[in-house]
Amino acid sequence: MQETSPPPHQPNVPAVAPPAPSPSAPIGADEVALLIDDRPVVAKKGTTVLQAAENAGVLVPHYCYHPGLSIAGNCRMCLVEIEKMPKLQIACATPVAQGMAVRTGNDRVRDARAGIQEFLLINHPLDCPICDQAGECRLQAYEAAYGLGYSRFHEEKVHFPKRYDIGGKVVFDAERCIRCTRCIRFCDEVSQSHELALFQRGDHAIIGTFPGRPLDNPYSGCTVDVCPVGALTWKPFRFKARVWFLKNVPSVCVGCARGCNVDVATFRNRIHRLTPRANVDVNRYWMCDAGRQSYSPLYERPRFERPILRGGPGAVGPEEDTSSMDTGSLWDLALDRSADLLRGVAKAHGPKALAAIVSARLTVEDLYLAKRVLGELLGVPRMAVPPHEEGEDDHLLVRRDKTPNARGASALGIGAPSAGRVKEILEDAAAGNVRGLVVVGEDLTEFPGFSEALFQKLDVLVVIDWWQSPTADRAQVALPACGYGEFEGTVVNFQERVQRLRVGLDPRGEADPTWRILRDLGRRFGLPSEYATSRAVFDDVAAKVPAFAGLSYRALGDRGAPMPAGAARDAGASPPGA
């Protein structure tokens, strides 16, 4: 059975229905044939009616059912009529059977749904104008599709705590809660942290925590995702944007080597939230809280919007005033300067005096061009990738390796992240043996082996980074790269799955994607005029690097694809799952 992502929130816009199997189509031994709204459907045994209907393009509305959680059967929204059964049945808990005839939208079913909607709304505050969930709320969507459209309730509503700080970054509004228990089941079954439970009975039943044990687990944000209504909200997103203004771009979290599939939600050229996008092969329906906030450095660290030039060749001086220059000329000057400086070091001291430190946070496209331009054309003999490790792999998603593309670096032959190789370069630089250093996407001051003396000893330091790091502050040429969400490309997760990052934001200032900066620098060393797009870069990678053979942006789609089996090995690659 194929697990699908939670259905879209607009129930009246069904997914495109696959063609119905012809009645004569053979049925496998593990399959059954049934009718859903008079349409013949073949489903695997053990599938529920709800899943079979969804696979056939028929959306059965539901609140408590979630494909990643156990079946609770409490919301009763998915009641359907099944021939020969006197009562309506909940589609979420009814397995398909041979010859079953299901009706998901006749008058009886619609009446029941309208009744459930009415029950859910009688004690609901109807505070949609100030609710963050408005626009992606199932109560709203289903009321529009199935509700009476008016209220028969003239009583005082049951009142509950509102704006309750239930723990971490999650705020609870108990009046909006429909007691579907998805959040409880998430904490019991997925995060396995068991903070949440139901208390009280009847219409006074309320989700809560135990004394002294607030909601506090590395995946607490998923309770907000699974909440089908506005009861649980994510503090960093509260009142930040109306969701109908958000543009969701399918991308990948770069917070660790898992590469959780995410939707990057942007509004007015700003990321407002990351939410997990279902991918059963990578992150199922979840992501960690750290990943959820992994875009925040974009708004916390200093950016630089134009290339920065300092001093003349051979000495790091004060920042040059380039304010009178137009952007094109400044970029040309900065790239020419970089090329000249690096060439000068090679000429004076031989290519052995050059080194590069490139980041495993860069994309496959970035790293491929770094290897081609710096390694092959400029002849930099030593290229190191710093590791970024923290904590341990956990039971669910979080990886110790905090870089999204270490496997990509290995597969490209740059080598696995190695603290030792970085340290060697830094020490050689401090000792005066390395005279020219290119740093892409890393801050040297973070690393063991770093000493301030290094900056004094280096003749040339060229930095490409998305933020104005302490290292960029000491570079003769600092080239502004695009930050997360501003560029596209691919990364290879720890499972050796290649996944696409996509663009949701315009670049900040005159920042350029790293791969393009490297391409333009490469042209100064004779790189042929190709690589118009990152897609073109990736096509070249796929053509030349066996680990990527047969892959293309189109083949990767929204959910990525594994590297060809066995192809990802190079000398530096560690085995998958390590």
């Binding site: 079946i71 059967g73 409490n74 919301c75 009763r76 929204m77 009641l79 006197p86 009562k87 309506l88 909940i90 808990a93 009446d111 029941a112 009744g115 459930i116 009415e118 029950f119 859910l120 009688i122 004690n123 028969r152 309730f153 003239h154 009583e155 005082e156 049951v158 429909i178 007691r179 139901l198 009280q200 009975r201 009847g202 219409d203 006074h204 039943a205």
Partner: protein, 429 residues
């Protein structure tokens, strides 16, 4: 042939409740006989042949229920005794537990033997302090005499009993909520299927039987299926039955009669008739508060599963509630609704939200704040609940609301129209 009370035969003995008294009255003979003469399968057949139907409320044939156990034996089987009697108007199990615990215990041992279970759970309502103490003593006595424990009466059959006290929730009388509670969880009814006979306590095949049902098994083992099946209205309504009568009667209590006894006979002969001679019968609920109400004109019915079903209500737990003409039906229904709103477990939407809504509407009607549309709204809500909930609790509130309003619609409408209770303004009494 005069009816001989058998379920209540020991309750008036001075030594009732003690094992000595029980043995002196011929107790545990059925067990002796069954262990010797019947294989477990034969005992199941015997119970099937007796026609015994469950006394907890649904009236499901007991032998057939036992037959639903899977044939495979890869997991232990459990017998759970539902002693969580909590239906308003019902107090028959309590009588058996307190006055003749060994009759129940013998039935438990027999039933466990029949379903080949070596561990039984006695889930007793938390408020039954006295019953708990008495039953605990009975278990100790039986164990001392060799009726419980290993190799019972040399038969090779072993059984132990765990007594578990509920914490006081009506819903825990629902068999799957009972199992959840027994497992130490919130008393939430489970989604069915799977039924407990397949996946029950701790995931194992489990039979849940009512206290009175099990007491009947003792009688069947003692006197045989043919004797049992001759009582009542065979073939489908056999055996003796305990009927509770409460409300506006002279002598409320538990009365034993054959299934199919006329309601009016119970009322007039057993319960001594109406409490006040000048206030005739207005309505009665024959089966406990969750069942549908009958107006006085329809109370000439036989008290068994099928006759009451034909009359549009149910035998339920046989907790008859009698109301005379002084009763305001809005108040009576409000009383019922308050109970169910309080006891709704809150798991599923229709029951959680609907029960509280009923209370609010009925409270308004009762205090003279009703609107004409409230009457139709009540039945509308009831029909949105009925059949759409996880467990039968939905019907337990939908049925009274639907039936009270249907039968006494004018009275409800009068409340809304006069903005007051007509009973109070027209001085019926």
């Amino acid at each position: 042939m005069a009816f001989e009370p058998v379920l209540t035969r020991n309750i008036h003995r001075p030594d009732s409740g003690t094992i000595e008294g029980y043995l002196a009255a011929g107790g545990y003979q059925g067990l002796r006989r069954a262990l010797k003469e019947f294989s477990p399968g034969q005992l199941v057949e015997e119970v099937k042949n007796s026609g015994l139907r469950g006394r907890g409320g649904a009236g499901f044939p007991t032998g057939m229920k036992w037959g639903f156990l899977p044939k495979t034996r890869d997991k232990p089987r459990y017998l759970c005794v539902n002693a969580d009697e909590s239906e308003p108007g019902t107090f028959k199990d309590r009588l058996l537990i307190e006055k003749d615990p060994h009759l129940v215990l013998e039935g438990i041992i027999l039933s466990a033997y029949a379903i080949e279970s070596s561990l039984a759970f006695f889930y007793i309502r938390g408020e039954f302090h006295e019953g708990y103490r008495i039953f605990q003593k009975a278990v100790q006595e039986a164990r001392a005499k060799g009726f419980l424990g290993t190799n019972i009466l040399g038969s090779g059959f072993s059984l132990d009993i765990i007594i578990y006290r509920g914490a006081g929730a009506y819903i825990c009388g629902e068999e799957t909520a009972l199992l959840e509670s027994l497992e130490g969880k919130r008393g939430y009814p489970r989604i069915k299927p799977p039924f407990p006979a397949i996946v029950g306590l701790y995931g194992c095949p489990t039979i849940i039987n009512n206290v009175e049902t099990l007491a009947n098994v003792t009688l069947i083992a003692e006197r045989g299926a043919a004797w049992y099946a001759s009582i009542g209205r065979p073939p489908k309504n056999t055996g003796p039955k305990l009927f509770c009568l409460s409300g506006h009667v002279k002598r409320p209590g538990v009365f034993e009669a054959p299934l199919g006894v006329p309601f009016l006979e119970l009322l007039n002969e057993h319960a001594g008739g109406m409490q006040h001679s000048d206030r005739p019968l207005k309505a009665a609920v024959p089966g406990g508060s969750s069942m549908k109400i009958l107006p006085a004109s329809k109370c000439d019915v036989l008290m068994d599963f099928d006759a009451l079903a034909a009359a549009g209500t149910s035998l339920g737990s046989a907790g008859g509630i009698v109301m005379d003409t002084s009763t305001c039906m809005v108040t009576a229904l409000l009383n019922v609704a308050r109970f169910y709103a309080h006891e709704s477990c809150g798991q599923c939407t229709p029951c959680r939200e609907g029960t509280g809504w009923f209370v609010k509407i009925l409270s308004r009607l009762e205090r003279g704040d009703g609107r004409p549309e409230d009457v139709g709204l009540l039945t509308g809500i009831a029909s949105n609940i009925e059949g759409n909930t996880v467990c039968p609790f939905g019907e337990a509130i939908a049925w009274p609301v639907e039936s009270y309003v249907r039968v006494f619609r004018e009275e409800f409408e009068e409340h809304a129209k006069r903005k007051a209770c007509p009973m109070k303004t027209t001085a019926v009494r």
